[in-house]
Symmetry: C2
Subunit: 442 residues, 2 copies
């Protein structure tokens, strides 16, 4: 039976909105440090029956403080610390936190995610990233090479999931009369010795409520897709073109099948930044109003760095077609984003203005419309195999979150495309994903 | 003006009580995974105006699952995850979590502690440990040597506090009109390059509410005392003898002064496990009742390993004076505890029974008495320079916590030895400790 309902994940971090959208007077500017703000966002998303809240992260060093002048991504909460606090003030929404396989130890991260899963009654998710930078904060002179980062990621994942499987159900008998706290027959000592990691185990935490917290992933390079096909369950992507999105969707599902998985167990959720109005005019006004408060140069500089275009777009004439250098050095960080933007610029020859409007939302698709037109768009992507749902990137907070929850979600529900309520207690229940079997115990 | 009030810290971890005290029917046995239990403990301690809750940890691997059979220390929460959740359900009590300088990255830990400090409104504390074991879970064949662990700890502390000082107050201007989010003149790039760590910074979190979270420490070896004298603010120790405690107290305060610190800014809080009754008989009955439910052999085996005595005490005749081997190999983990126990056994020649009763509480002092006799004891230790307060290790939970809060705390308050209410909002306010000045900004 084909799946009939799509998944929705709310993307948040730092100031809670994309780029310099914080300059619009409707957006909070203290979410980076005011827990009350994030509590309100999480509770609003839960009212909208969102599958999960997704908290982005990076650990970049900064050589020149000037780089921070217009960067609202700093400060921000350490993801799993924030999510532990949010677990206490929410009841059903999933809590997906970003943590890299490059700058953590698998034993530490396995514990933290397992604790979050227990704390939240089975609502934890881990966004596995290899990190696009940050080596300078972790005793390294240069960043680890892209290919090696992914090799590490696979082994890291094996260790973490192996540690999560340290105990069979019922291992902790806690029998007062005999003094037996643990049944040693239900303990597995991992004794992992691999290329990058050596970890004895067992973890000092029982198996997570969900077996394993849900695995999210975002890399779209070939290595990234391969990791996604093998272990990813919720994929955050950045597709603009429905035909390309279908091709990506098919490719990743095929990889999953090749790894012996059911294709429905990988949910591909492209990022979308919606501007919602009761009429199209109202939506367009909101969008234009935001653009008036934003600064094109800041966004363009950010995009130029993000996609390693080899040129600073903010220095080019705004109304002329973009000319890229003939040779662009391949990046070691956002490989797939670089390729996507370079290909589009070379094929479509957009002006800087056209590019700016298309990529206002940090490289993600901007959708300006009514609840009905946005639902139409979602329905087309969902029913034609371009997406299993969407990662919603809000253009303002709290207003943008409330617009989506109060206007778009009811329209999706009316069409039967989205749940009326949470079906169970855990994030796996919500997503309809199976509980992984314990590798060491039947 | 000499300080007139003592400090109280509540020690918790895993099953929340010491050793196999969980076997007593009055103790919860699900605190290891039921957040509601820890929430109740934290709120009870806050009702008792405790300075802080102190969450112990270790990251040991386990070669033989049999070791876990009678070990209620596993499972347990990952400390900072639990404390983030407790921050939301408490308002004034300090939240001190253990994290090692041996198996963490300073950048990651600095962020997590800073986030906890922001989340809790300035109530975070970090129990700095070098870890007595765990190398087997962190890519190492053998544990790092004691001396090198302490060298690392000093540098780790320098990096973490340097990262906490990354921003001057007011660095994040968030000016919508100009688009200036950060004032780069108020950002310090650490660029640390030391023997063990290379960390660029700045941290992606503003300076913690308390400047630096409060630094707790527990090592009592010579290296441990030196770290304590240099950076420790709250010390958890295990003194049994009031004369030895005074000597330890004087030694550490002297080291603090040598490091240019005020001696009052190091608070020495020996561990005590109280059994409280309205009459002495009632207290003794509680103690005997607990002993009846405990298993001496389990405790003795644990102590033998803990203090590396070179002999398993549980195999020796219970009523005969203990004979230790002539040569005992010096341990690489609990150095000071080994020396303390070996010296005491050699001098006092206790029987196994005597040792067992003295060390029921994981090596800490057991105090069986009425609110008045316990307050007398605390007053003597406090007023004669043996302690600045106490770390309370509960023999049952929740009953043992409530006994102490409802019976002993009011007696200490009546004598003026303990606060009637919290004086401010942060843990530094509560302890009366200064906010450290920013190393890089006036």
């Amino acid at each position: 039976m084909p799946r009939t309902q799509l998944n929705l994940v709310g993307f948040l971090s730092g100031s809670a909105v994309n780029g310099d959208s914080w300059r619009h007077p409707d957006s909070d500017i203290d979410a980076d440090l005011d827990f009350g703000r994030y509590k309100a966002y999480a509770q609003a998303l839960e009212r909208g029956k969102f599958d999960a809240l997704f908290f982005y992260d990076n650990v970049l060093g900064v050589a020149d403080p000037a780089w921070l002048t217009a960067n609202p991504g700093v400060p921000r909460w350490e993801p799993l610390t924030l999510l532990a606090a949010l677990a206490v003030v929410t009841e059903r929404i999933g809590l997906i936190g970003t943590a890299s396989t490059t700058f953590n130890e698998p034993y530490n991260l396995a514990r933290r995610l397992a604790s979050l899963d227990h704390l939240s009654g089975g609502r934890a998710g881990w966004n596995v990233v290899t990190a696009t930078g940050g080596a300078e904060n972790f005793n390294l002179d240069t960043h680890i090479d892209h290919a090696e980062r992914y090799q590490r990621a696979h082994e890291f994942y094996d260790v973490v999931t192996g540690l999560w499987d340290s105990y069979a159900d019922g291992a902790f008998v806690k029998d007062r009369a005999s003094g037996r706290w643990t049944d040693p027959a239900k303990v597995h000592v991992l004794n992992h010795k691999g290329r990058f990691y050596q970890v004895q185990g067992p973890l000092n935490t029982p198996r997570p409520v969900q077996g394993h917290p849900v695995i999210a992933q975002a890399g779209a390079s070939d290595d990234g897709r391969e990791l996604a096909g093998r272990v990813g369950e919720v994929l955050y992507t950045a597709e603009h073109d429905i035909a390309l999105a279908r091709a990506f969707h098919a490719d990743v599902k095929e990889r999953a099948v090749r790894h012996g998985r059911h294709p429905d167990h990988v949910r591909i959720l492209p990022g979308v930044s919606p501007f919602v109005g009761r009429t199209l005019g109202e939506a367009e006004d909101k969008y234009e109003d935001l653009l008036r408060h934003r600064d094109a140069a800041t966004t363009l500089r950010g995009l130029s760095t993000y996609a390693s275009l080899g040129v600073d777009l903010s220095t080019l004439p705004f109304e002329e077609p973009i000319r890229l250098p003939d040779e662009i050095a391949e990046t070691n960080s956002h490989k797939s984003r670089q390729r996507l933007m370079v290909d589009w610029i070379r094929q479509d020859r957009p002006t800087v203005r056209q590019l700016y409007r298309k990529f206002t939302a940090g490289g993600h698709r901007v959708l300006v419309g009514t609840p009905r037109s946005i639902a139409d768009d979602f329905e087309e992507w969902f029913t034609t195999g371009a997406a299993d749902g969407f990662t919603i990137m809000f253009s303002s907070a709290p207003a943008g979150i409330e617009d989506f929850v109060d206007l778009v979600v009811p329209e999706l529900q009316r069409r039967g495309l989205f749940r009326q309520d949470y079906p169970g207690r855990t994030l796996r229940d919500t997503l309809g994903l199976p509980v992984p079997r314990n590798r060491f115990f039947a």
